[in-house]
């Protein structure tokens, strides 16, 4: 069970636009990407986030787990998720 955190100066808009004020970098995420980030922002664990998504979306756990891990790697690469 992991709990990630996002940089304090990361702004997330409702449309999925991200602005990292410390570097000026901008990103876009899709709906599910945004929900993951919101989950992290609410200090949820990875399991809690995955279970929330499983309740809401038509996807099996294994596929979601894979996509989640891959997304976290992308966030970490861009310094948007810290353990």
């Amino acid at each position: 069970m992991n709990k990630y955190r996002i940089p304090e100066n990361l702004a997330i808009s409702d449309s999925g636009f991200l602005f990292l004020a410390s570097t000026g970098e901008t990103f876009s995420v899709n709906e599910i990407g945004k929900e993951i980030l919101k989950g992290i922002q609410l200090h949820k664990t990875d399991e809690e986030i995955i279970n929330d998504l499983l309740n809401d979306y038509d996807i099996d756990k294994q596929s979601l787990q894979k996509d989640f891990d891959d997304f976290i790697l992308q966030l970490q690469k861009n310094n948007l998720a810290l353990l």
């Binding site: 901008t26 995420v29 599910i32 979306y57 038509d58 979601l64 891959d70 861009n78």
Partner: protein
């Protein structure tokens, strides 16, 4: 009833300032689910993956269209199918049925053409290596022997004297047509007089009949005007032959080298925007030949050995995703079950690659690797591609030229090749190799058993 929302994998894209160009970049990928009405998954379920798929209809269309394009610009045209480009029997047979002769560059290709029913006189025998045995056969068959170098010329002089038979010959001529690289390793040079010297030698022999001139200026030539230069130089040489010896040659063979719609690696614009159309090549060649007025008794026939441009878009390679990976720099990577061993042309082409199923609308820069345990096994270093799941299919287009001849049996056995026929049926035209196929050629010394 399922009331859950439709799932889409989570995606993040970083915005870069100053990275756009006026053409933009494609972010939505469209799948290729069917080939001529056949679902790709159905094809691989039956014939396995990877799988080469050929289209009879497309091959015939390409050949018919090429004949029409050239015949509307030059009165006498004859195509000869370039065996080395794809020498599958099924492919060669279709070209022969469409009126194409055979252009071969090796002894086994020569024999293959004969087995397919091509008459010797309709075989053009090219290439730098022709064994004495094969030359004897070609002389007896009255094939058109295109001499590549002086040693071959001396062999022919000797053989025709021994056999007391006449050989029907042409010379391959290399020349400067303003392109790089200059292909001067084949044939006799035009500018330095070597070609003229070869012709002097041939015309002095009672058993050598000079019937044509041949050139092949290069491969994937994207500057059509080079063919005009080549055609006019050969026509000038034909006029010199007529002036000197009063010999009217039967034909001028312009070889091949027309580009297909594959984009070269390192090429900025896609091939659709850079490759000349067949009409442009035909214009250049016909103008080059006709602008130099031929002095002989009858206009020579134009021979063409077009390969790539007639077959590349008639074949597909279907492959299956084995795994997804992230490289150390975060780049996404796909591993598929077809590598460079089956897709040799991926060394120089950025092949058009599509997913076979509906996928995410979002694409990501993705490197595509083959299954070989070799670092060089990279099909594409990076292209926008949607996320794929293990087991899903992707398809590579424009793979008909050279892949089914230059492919390697390396680490994996070569796969099935099927052809979708004009009537919609599917025929297996080359069986996948097996371990027995491999072992058939091996001998284990008794001492080692």
């Amino acid at each position: 009833m399922n009331t859950k929302n439709k799932y889409e994998r989570p995606v993040i894209n970083k915005f870069y300032s100053g990275m756009m160009n006026k053409f933009g970049s494609q972010t939505i990928a469209s799948p290729l689910k069917e080939i001529e009405g056949k679902r790709l998954n159905d094809l691989t379920d039956k014939f396995g993956s990877p799988l080469f798929v050929l289209s009879e209809k497309k091959i015939r269309q390409n050949q018919k269209s090429a004949i029409r394009i050239f015949k509307t610009r030059y009165p006498k045209v004859q195509f000869a199918w370039s065996y080395k480009t794809n020498y599958l029997n099924a492919v060669c047979k279709i070209f022969h049925q469409e009126g194409s002769w055979a252009e071969v560059v090796s002894e086994f290709e020569y024999e293959k053409a004969k087995l397919l029913g091509v008459r010797g006189e309709n075989i053009i025998y090219n290439g730098p290596e022709k064994s004495r045995e094969s030359l004897i056969t070609a002389i007896k068959d009255r094939a058109k022997i295109h001499i590549d170098h002086f040693d071959e010329l001396y062999d022919l002089i000797e053989l025709t004297d021994e056999l007391k038979l006449k050989a029907r010959v042409a010379i391959r001529v290399n020349m400067d047509v303003g392109i790089f690289p200059k292909w001067d390793r084949f044939g006799f040079n035009f500018e330095n007089g070597e070609a003229h010297q070869a012709i002097r030698r041939i015309t002095a022999q009672k058993n050598l009949e000079l019937i044509g001139l041949h050139t092949h200026i290069g491969t994937y030539i994207t500057y059509a005007e080079s063919y005009k230069v080549a055609a006019s130089k050969l026509m000038n040489l034909a006029n010199w032959i007529y002036d000197e010896y009063k010999i009217t040659i039967d034909y001028i063979d312009m070889g091949g080298g027309f580009a297909s719609l594959n984009t070269l690696k390192g090429q900025y614009l896609p091939a659709e925007q850079t490759v000349p159309s067949l009409d442009q090549y035909a214009d250049a060649i016909a103008n080059g030949l006709l602008e130099v007025r031929y002095k002989g008794e009858e206009l020579p026939t134009l021979y063409l050995e077009t390969g790539r441009a007639l077959i590349d878009d008639a074949a597909y390679l279907i492959s299956t995703v084995i795994a997804n990976k992230r490289l150390s720099d975060g780049t996404r990577a796909l591993i598929i079950d077809a590598g460079i061993n089956f897709l040799f042309t991926s060394f120089w082409y950025k092949h058009k690659i599509s997913q076979a199923t509906e996928a995410d609308a979002h694409t990501e820069n993705t490197a595509i690797y083959g299954p070989l345990c070799m670092n060089i096994d990279c099909i594409n270093e990076g292209m926008n591609f949607p996320a794929m799941k293990k087991g899903e299919k992707i398809v590579m287009e424009y793979v008909g030229a050279y892949n089914m001849t230059q492919w390697l049996q390396f680490i994996k056995m070569r796969p099935n090749i099927i052809m979708i026929m004009n009537d919609g049926s599917i025929e297996l035209v080359r069986k996948a190799e097996t371990l027995n196929y491999l072992l058939e050629q091996e001998l284990l010394p008794l001492k080692l058993t």
